[in-house]
């Protein structure tokens, strides 16, 4: 099925096409900590397993909500999430820069206490990837008159469900969250290439997938001695179904051979392959020396269930300090390691191997029954990317992102 469109234009289109044929067009499932959830946890680097004692705790460690102070609700969102990825010397000698900007309300939770039982209902968006690109090239090569490409991609995961927790004795609590997992992925890509001799190509691809699943999360917290807590949580997402569908259509004419030939393909593929999500075990310690200070560290261990993924451990730590009873500041650091195995000389595209580190900062203003929080999260990582389909050559890549978050909580 080889068509002769001229080597250069072929290379060019392969180049452009293969760049986009990588896994980055979906949500980044090679990292587990792309989105930090909840105002207190997110501003402390996502370290919350040993604390988790308010309406945002339903997601990190349901056992913690047994120690919540009264009924409350809270909502938060990333009001700005700007991410920039730079692949060095990728398009010829030029860097390929990809930027994305999203606004995602990513958490809502309501918590109610009854004696020493606590119940919570929450909605979480742990993963949201939205990218829109429109590229227009006029005469990018001597044989190409115009090249136009547009890409729209959205991959959002939602978790929604109830949690319950109970205190047993003075120093122990146990909790359970049952989330319904729903993921909706859509990608549409379209390019049009017109050569100087009038030949042209039109390409259209549409992919969509939906996932339904459950994510049970069980947690416990223990206070071995005063001022110190230890928390553990275990969760795994089980997919029930994951129908996906892809449409591909390709149409071109070739004026070189003096025969106007039309080659069209219309292809629809369907699949029910469910990905296997990792088992997540989180462990944390928190120290509450005074009502104004708090220190905590977490370790998150992910055991991959899918072939071709590695087990990884992420670390995070955070601190909270009250300047006075109505103003608090927080700081945190965290790692966001890739779950792809180490690369070697045989690694082929598509592959991106990048480890990311992050820091977060936040400020909360408290009034008698409510609080608002402003925070910023900055991440940076560098690594390598294999971009050219079938090739083992890699390019350096860097990625950094800035997220501004806003959140409000109120007691009920």
């Amino acid at each position: 099925m080889k068509k002769d469109f001229g080597i250069k234009s072929l290379l060019f289109s392969i180049l452009i096409y293969s760049c986009f044929a990588t896994a980055q067009l979906k949500a980044d499932d090679t990292h587990y900590k792309n989105m930090l959830i909840g105002e207190r946890a997110a501003t402390m680097g996502g370290t919350y397993v040993a604390i988790s004692d308010d309406s945002t705790g339903c997601y990190y460690n349901p056992a913690g909500i047994a120690y919540a102070v009264g009924d409350s609700l809270s909502g938060s969102g990333n009001v700005l999430h700007k991410m920039k990825t730079v692949y060095s010397e990728t398009i010829g000698t030029e860097d390929w820069v990809r930027e994305s900007e999203t606004l995602v309300p990513n958490y809502f939770g309501v918590l109610k206490k009854y004696k020493s039982y606590s119940f919570c209902f929450s909605y979480v968006v742990p993963e949201a990837f939205i990218e829109h690109q429109d590229l227009v090239f006029d005469s990018p090569l001597s044989t190409v008159k115009k090249y136009y490409q547009s890409l729209h991609s959205e991959d959002i995961t939602y978790l929604i469900g109830p949690s319950g927790a109970v205190r047993i004795g003075d120093s122990f609590s146990i909790g359970l969250t049952l989330y319904y997992h729903y993921r909706s992925f859509m990608r549409q890509q379209h390019y049009f290439l017109e050569e100087t001799d009038g030949s042209y190509e039109v390409f259209y691809e549409s992919k969509k997938q939906r996932e339904d699943g459950v994510m049970p999360k069980i947690g416990m917290q223990w206070s071995p001695w005063s001022l110190l807590t230890v928390g553990m949580a275990l969760d795994q997402t089980f997919l029930i179904n994951a129908p996906s569908q892809g449409d591909l259509s390709y149409h071109n004419t070739d004026n070189k051979t003096d025969t106007a030939s039309l080659f069209t393909t219309m292809n629809r593929t369907k699949s029910e392959v469910k990905r296997k999500l990792p088992t997540h075990l989180a462990f944390g310690v928190a120290y509450f020396p005074t009502p104004s200070q708090l220190y905590t560290v977490d370790i998150d261990y992910y055991q991959a269930q899918e072939k071709g993924r590695a087990n990884i451990m992420n670390y995070s730590g955070g601190t909270e300090y009250y300047l006075n009873p109505t103003n608090a500041v927080r700081f945190g650091l965290f790692t966001n390691y890739t779950n792809l195995p180490d690369t070697d000389s045989s690694t082929v595209a598509p592959y991106e191997y990048i480890d990311i580190l992050g820091a977060s900062l936040g400020y909360t203003s408290y009034s008698s029954s409510s609080s608002i929080t402003l925070g910023a999260i900055y991440t940076y990582g560098s690594g390598k990317a294999w971009l050219y389909s079938g090739s083992t050559t890699s390019r350096n890549m860097k990625r950094d992102s800035l997220t501004l978050l806003f959140s409000a909580s109120s007691s009920l």
Binding site: V69, K113, G164, I168
Partner: protein
Amino acid sequence: MNLFSKHLWFYIFIISFVFASFGNAQEFRLRAHHLFWKNQEANTEREIDFGRGVSAKILGKYPILRDEGTVRYINQIGTGISAQLGRPELRYYFGILDTDEINAFAAPGGYIFVTRGALILMSNEAQLAGVLAHELAHVDQKHIVRKLKLQSTDRSVTSGIAQVLGGATLSAKIALERLNDLAFKMLMEEGLSKEDEADADQKALEMLTSLGYDPQSYLDYLQSLKPYLEQGQAKVLSKTHPTIIFRYNNLREFIMKNDLENFKGKKNEKRFRNKIATL
């Protein structure tokens, strides 16, 4: 069996609900803003409302003495103490109840009453200051509020009185009224626990010493109450003071422990006698 063990974690969780424990736990988790608002205006406002209700009942039982000179004097002593050692967010009121009974009452929110009978029994200003300080301590420590179990076990920051008394509906007002009755009855009949009384005594002594008064005078006053108990006269103190001996011994111990034996404090006997001469 296989199916069961697969979901064991789930069953463990459900069963754990049976073993739930109650009461306050892990107070160290409370952050600065929790502690701050837990004690702030909302609770104070309602405490004052509640205290007014109880005070109105006290004044319904005993008439108030309106002798300007004496009232002014008691007020000055009381305000002088409360301005220095009371809760900064409260305004304290000091009233004299026109009755021969020997007693003193404190209602939440800063309403303090002492009877004419008690004033006549006192022999100097230090004793008056001591009695007022003792009642002040009841208000400071919120003994009455606590005894009525108004501080709920739930650690909501607006818990306590606010939760109970916050209602504006008629049924809430009825509930408030009933609580007032309960508090009033407790003041008149049961009294507070002897631990609370001993605690208030100790705080009173601390206040007396920091104000420069003679602490022994307060103990003398307690002693002077004994004959009225023993004789079972009409002037007998209500059942609210059955523990005079216990309190006296406690105070002696307190004085010894804190090296107050030789504390030289003022008594202002002359001024006292002058001011209450009209009673």
